[in-house]
Subunit: 351 residues, 2 copies
DNA sequence: GCCAGGATTGTGACCGGTCACACAGGGGCC
DNA sequence: GGCCCCTGTGTGACCGGTCACAATCCTGGC
């Protein structure tokens, strides 16, 4: 790796509203009125001020504005990950919406669900003075949600809640439970006797709340099929691979629903190595529809989730809260999850 | 998608240093000294102040600190993308390093290389008062680099420069030219007569500066092999797929070096559909070593680039610049690029 | 015992905005 | 013609820190 140095800057102090005021021959308060679009400024005055602003290249200091007004046009995203597709896509949605509203977006990674660390991260994020968006798809995120002081302005992207959340919870989700049900149904319709489930880690220790697993169970019980023990996987392809090797040994396994596409990727590889053909011997379904999933061999049947839409909705909700007084705009709706059938699923093998 | 509402906050104003001062019976300036670790505060006084801080739950306002000191402990990342692996990984590295240094990190996406848009993005980013990190792997990023005023505190992650950069350029890169040379050499060593190249878009219109292509040319000319016309690809699997279909038709093509793993993914699929086996008929090499590449069928031979290391180095450089006066810490060095040979490359087919 | 000088601490201005309120001028109404 | 209200503008405090400098307290050296 290479690095090159840098030289020192020698710029002058940027223009403040008082500089502009002097240049335009008005008071600083009038300049403030102009930049904030206050109605009662005479057009002639406004023009003089605007000319001065242009001439001096004035830009309102976001810092000073935040300090004086108490409102920081800022949103900080707390997440445990920025590289995985779902997280990155949600971040993308948030950033888009924030940029459109002239909000700055900050990002802070939660490295673990350790209480002290998470609490400190929350404090640090709150220090910016803006709102918070939590990506609470996993332990660290959920922990942050639990630990956040009640009065912090925050919105969370969460898994589908097991039961209707308490009124007033600023939560956003897509119905992945229904989606899991649909995906499982798809496999059952193809004649598979049962469907195995390789789950992502559940966020709540007690309730085993993973709603993807719940949807899978729904479909199975609706079809009158006993649910095999779900397999606790992780998030990574390596986890899927490890689980896949075990699954591959069991000849009764003909259909696997994976908690995400990365797990499915690992499963696919394990099956291939074990000589079990996909979809002829085993069908595999993923979750998320990551960008590469359509190009795999075989192309992965998966559930497309609109993470970016969720991200945009999170921002919209937070924005409405922070900018109270503005009418709450109808939330931009994310697309409903949708099963994308590709090549990794097929009819159950004949016995 | 579902969204639930939220309730209003009713918190009180957080404690300021003057509140702490009153509680501790000292002046606000003494409190300031304590929180900044100034040496000349009597231990007894320090303890009183610290007790008051703890009791009031005082946290220094980042906003006020930034305004008063003129230094915002903030770094804003300007990038055209947050989802692609290389970009996301670089961001991860930046965030890690920034968090360790108690810097906040902002993110701003450059949607195009349109001059006005990029200039406005730069201004907005500068408004935060902190430093800037540019991910200049593509047009929008490079455009931002060109357009940034000379006195902005910025560091850029760039492609390997074609020639030594002007002294003082705050640039960080890994030597992907050498890596491309190595990858091409690997294919040549396997007996392939020549190696085709599917390039990512080059950032500089005029020089065709993509150094991955240059490294590929280096290796070819060193081996005395004429370089076939490189193919202008894009960034996405779909682009690789399109190019791959054309490549598949030409029986002379037995080795392809792709500008990134996504392109390689598309090429792999196109070859498979065309009935050309990898690596038996055609060898394929990628670039980046994205997390899923090891699990593809076949597992992709690729060049591992330490994006996170580059990101950390960017931050270190910026930090040293902003915090001038501190000794410049030795830059954390990113790992050198390394060819990871997996399953997608093999001996040239016999004719 | 006196004084220089470092250690400690306090005072008030300032960073660049916003906010609350005062004040001048002009038009409508009775 | 006087009063009231609205429009347009200015004044000074304030947000929560930092900075420059002044003031006070100690301590050692002679």
């Amino acid at each position: 790796m290479s690095v090159t140095g840098h030289t020192r800057s020698g710029g002058r102090r940027p223009a403040s509203i008082r500089d502009v005021a002097t240049a335009a021959g008005v008071s600083h308060q009038t300049v403030s009125r102009v930049i904030n679009g206050h109605p009662s400024v005479r057009p002639a005055t406004r023009e003089r001020v605007e000319a001065a602003i242009a001439q001096l290249g004035f830009r309102r200091s976001a810092t000073a504005h935040a300090l004086a007004s108490g409102r920081a046009r800022t949103v900080t995203v707390l997440t445990s990950n920025t590289v995985h597709y779902g997280y990155a896509a949600a971040l993308k949605g948030i950033e888009e919406a924030a940029r459109a509203a002239s909000f700055a977006v900050g990002i802070h990674v939660l490295e673990s669900d350790d209480e002290r660390l998470v609490a400190e991260a929350l404090r640090r994020a709150a220090d910016t003075g803006g709102g918070l968006i939590l990506i609470a798809y996993d332990r660290p995120g959920v922990r942050a949600l639990e630990l956040a002081p009640a009065d912090t302005p925050l919105v969370a992207a969460v898994e589908t809640p097991a039961e209707p959340p308490p009124a007033g919870s600023p939560w956003v989700w897509t119905d992945d439970r229904a989606a899991a049900r649909e995906a499982t149904g798809h496999l059952l319709d193809l004649g598979h006797r049962t469907v195995h489930h390789l789950a992502i880690p559940s966020t709540t220790r007690t309730s085993g709340g993973a709603q993807r697993a719940a949807g899978w169970r729904d479909a199975l019980s609706r079809a009158g099929v006993p649910a095999p023990e779900p397999i606790e996987g992780g998030w990574e392809p390596a986890d899927g691979y490890a689980a896949g090797r075990r699954l591959a040994r069991d000849p009764d396994v003909t259909a696997v629903l994976c908690g995400n596409d990365d797990l499915a990727l690992g499963v696919l590889r394990a099956l291939r190595e074990a000589g079990r053909a996909v979809p002829d011997d085993v069908s595999v379904v993923g979750f998320d529809d990551a960008p590469h999933s359509a190009y795999l061999a075989p192309a992965l049947t998966t559930v497309r989730l609109d993470f970016a839409g969720v991200g945009r909705a999170c921002f919209a909700l937070l924005h409405a809260r922070v900018e109270q007084g503005e009418p709450i705009a109808p939330h931009p709706v994310a697309e409903a999850p949708r099963l994308i059938v590709r090549e990794s699923t097929g009819p159950a093998p004949r016995r």
